[in-house]
């Protein structure tokens, strides 16, 4: 990443006073953050700091958990995504998600990628769909590896390939934002490197938000980094500043490896 501050694109997400409760636990405490388009933003912090929870607020994945309650104001392109007229299904089509553990459906590679276009009716015809699948797989850098076996099962791929398949699947839905919840934590170093490169390049087109355990990874791929601790957003800065001139004591402790 560059040493100087990158030019700020417009804020895709504006979050103000976000709180999350699980039954009796206060998981996210009054956080404010702006997330910018066409860039990669990292959430870092020790385990259980709420970074994944916060990520799941951005496409309302927390709705599927019965005991979870989200309050505050999260705006996507100036529209409150928790508003009563917002359909979470539509929202999730715009804000795609990739998970920690690769979770390809037990279907063929083609069907995995075509899943989003099919349910959202994005393809006019079969040729259209074929084109979408191909371009998504190309974007995810998987096309050359799987083009000869599109009809074999997605679960038969290696871990890194599976994760790239999941990314391709997310891209195929044509989202505006890509949320990634520790996408490399289940992968070996070589696969990690490939996926990291992919994420960096995706940041040129999409608004990418990535939760990561690894500070090196955040340093390598993201323009901006947010540090969470015990449900609190401690510091949010350009990646360069977070790692080189952190202001908060907790951030200093974490990035210098004293805890976490």
């Amino acid at each position: 990443m560059t040493e100087s501050n990158p030019p700020l694109p417009r804020a895709k997400f504006q979050c103000r006073g976000v709180n999350v409760h699980y039954a009796t636990t206060h998981a996210i405490k009054d956080n404010d953050i702006d997330i910018y388009d066409k860039s990669v933003t990292s959430f870092i912090g020790p385990s259980g700091c709420g970074k994944s929870t916060f990520l799941r607020c951005l496409n309302r994945m927390n709705d599927t958990i019965e005991i979870c309650r989200v309050t505050g104001d999260i705006r996507l392109d100036d529209v409150d995504i928790y508003g009563s007229d917002i359909d979470p299904v539509q929202l999730r089509a715009r804000v795609g998600m990739v998970f920690q553990k690769p979770n390809p459906f037990p279907k063929s590679i083609f069907d995995n990628v075509a899943y989003g276009p099919r349910i959202h009716g994005l393809a006019e015809n079969r040729a259209d769909l074929d084109a979408m699948v191909e371009s998504s797989l190309r974007s995810a850098g998987l096309w050359d590896e799987v083009k000869d076996r599109l009809s074999s099962s997605g679960t038969g791929l290696s871990g890194g390939q599976q994760q790239r398949l999941c990314i391709a699947r997310a891209i195929a839905t044509q989202p505006e934002v890509l949320l990634m919840d520790e996408p490399c934590s289940a992968l070996d170093p070589i696969a990690t490197e490939i996926v990291e490169e992919l994420i960096s390049s995706l940041g040129e087109t999409y608004c990418v938000v990535i939760v990561t355990h690894s500070m090196q990874q955040a340093n390598r791929i993201s323009e901006r980094t947010a540090f969470f601790h015990l449900g609190e957003l401690v510091e949010y800065e350009t990646t360069h500043n977070i790692f080189n001139t952190p202001k908060d004591d907790r951030t200093i402790g974490y990035v210098s490896g004293r805890f976490g």
Binding site: M97, F99, N103
Partner: protein, 456 residues
């Protein structure tokens, strides 16, 4: 008399435990640490041997002597009666036994009196002999094992060895049961097919095995089981038509739509449905559902028999609903949350997630649940005995009465016909039933095992 013997053996077991424990204490002379095993193990070792010897001899003796006495009684039938059929010989023996034990015999004559007298003496000898043998064996076991008590005797290890053997024997009973089932069914089945060609049984369309039976020989043209198979199939089909959609939709609702509160009401309700004995379902079918269907049919101009396949099938379907729903609920819940998340994360609705991701993933498990349900429906007895017909009627019309394999087994075994005559077709039907359900079960269990492995 023998129950007293059993009681004495129990007392001997308890006595030998305490005696040996005491004896071990005596050997140790106050220094218990000098013993390799604690006194209780010496006691347990002796008691176990006494129990094995006493009860082993008693049970084995009972079984063997019963068999021996039976053959002796057949031998006691006077030759002067001339050649007799097996059925007549059975009858003479059972009457003789009845006379000897003061019960009512169907007929009383010299031959039966003779058999009765013979039975009396044999039982007397058996009881006294077995009592002496049992007590002797127990006493011998006590003396042998308590003589071993000494400081270095490894009573604990020996006891544990015995316990382990007993545990293994217990586990082997499952296999013995299967062997028993196969052997008892197969024996009669083979005997049945020695008289009747198997093709006549499997492909004949006329079932009336006991009509015109003279001394055990059947008309091969009247043992065609096709009407029974067809009837069983028809009722099973109706049952699955009810149970599969209702059970599956209920499972889907429970796993992905119902709130915690709704689940806590619906699950126990389904469990109650599962816990109701089949005889109760049979009563419900016969006294409520069948008349209701008949009257409803009459109101719209349909002739529905009061023993229609429809009534039995519907009630059987109700019985199987909880079976399908709980097994499907299990497999649907076993689909990892990550797959659901993946689908929701792409903006799929719940319905799309269920239809396109969860159901295909859970399919092997659901198929296995359905197969187990089918196997259950095929083998279900009480509902069809009480609500389906007796007449072997070859039809696909659900409004008519049909009969099933299980109904015919019950009719043959509990009917008035001589047991030896009815056993042939009954056990052959039983064996067919066992084989068919076994195939379904094996396939279903394979599927579910594979399914579990794929998500472990």
């Amino acid at each position: 008399m023998l129950s007293w013997v059993a009681l004495i053996v129990v007392l001997m077991i308890a006595g030998s435990f305490f005696a040996s424990q005491q004896r071990a204490r005596g050997v140790a002379q106050g220094d218990l640490a000098a013993l390799h095993s604690r006194p209780a193990y010496h006691g347990a070792y002796t008691a176990l041997w006494v129990a094995i010897a006493g009860f082993g001899v008693l049970v084995l003796g009972l079984l063997l002597s019963n068999i021996a006495i039976r053959s002796a009684l057949f031998a006691a039938i006077p030759d002067s009666l001339g050649p007799l059929s097996q059925i007549e010989r059975d009858l003479i023996v059972s009457d003789g036994v009845a006379i000897a034990s003061g019960e009512v015999a169907s007929r009383s004559d010299a031959a039966r009196e003779a058999v009765g007298a013979r039975y009396g003496t044999l039982m007397m000898v058996r009881n006294v002999g077995l009592a002496l043998l049992t007590l002797g064996a127990a006493a011998f076991a006590y003396m042998r094992s308590s003589a071993q008590i000494s400081l270095p005797f490894r009573a604990r290890n020996r006891t544990e060895k015995i316990v382990q053997v007993l545990l293994m024997v217990s586990a082997a009973i499952a296999i013995l049961t299967t062997i028993g089932i196969v052997a008892s069914l197969l024996g009669q089945t083979l005997a049945f097919f020695s008289d009747i060609p198997i093709t006549k049984f499997l492909f004949g369309t006329l079932w009336s095995p006991l009509s015109g039976v003279h001394s055990g020989s059947m008309d091969p043209d009247k043992v065609g089981a096709i009407p029974l198979f067809a009837g069983t199939l028809l009722i099973t089909f109706i049952a699955m038509l009810v149970a599969v959609p209702v059970g599956l939709f209920a499972a889907i609702f429970l796993s992905d739509f119902a709130s915690q509160r709704a689940r806590s009401i619906i699950k126990p309700m389904l469990e109650i449905l599962a816990g109701i004995p089949t005889v109760v379902y049979g009563f419900f079918a016969a006294i409520t559902v069948a008349p209701f269907l008949r009257d409803t049919g009459a109101a719209v101009g349909l002739t529905i028999s009061s023993e229609s396949a429809l009534a039995a099938g519907i009630v059987m379907g109700i019985m199987i609903i909880p079976f399908i729903s709980s097994l499907s609920d299990d497999v649907i819940n076993a689909v990892p949350q990550s797959l659901r998340d993946g689908s929701y994360g792409l903006g799929a609705t719940k319905a799309e997630t269920i239809r396109k991701v969860i159901l295909p993933a859970a399919l092997p498990g659901i198929v296995s649940a359905v197969l187990l349900g089918v196997s259950r429906a095929i083998g279900e007895t009480m509902i069809v005995v009480m609500a389906a017909g007796q007449g072997a009627n070859l039809t696909a019309n659900p409004f008519e009465a049909v009969t099933t394999v299980t109904v015919q087994i019950v009719a043959l075994i509990t009917g008035d016909t001589e047991a030896a005559t009815a056993a042939g077709p009954a056990f052959t039907l039983g064996f067919t039933l066992f084989c068919v359900t076994l195939i379904f079960n094996v396939i279903a269990l394979r599927l579910v095992r594979k399914y579990q492995e794929s998500y472990d």
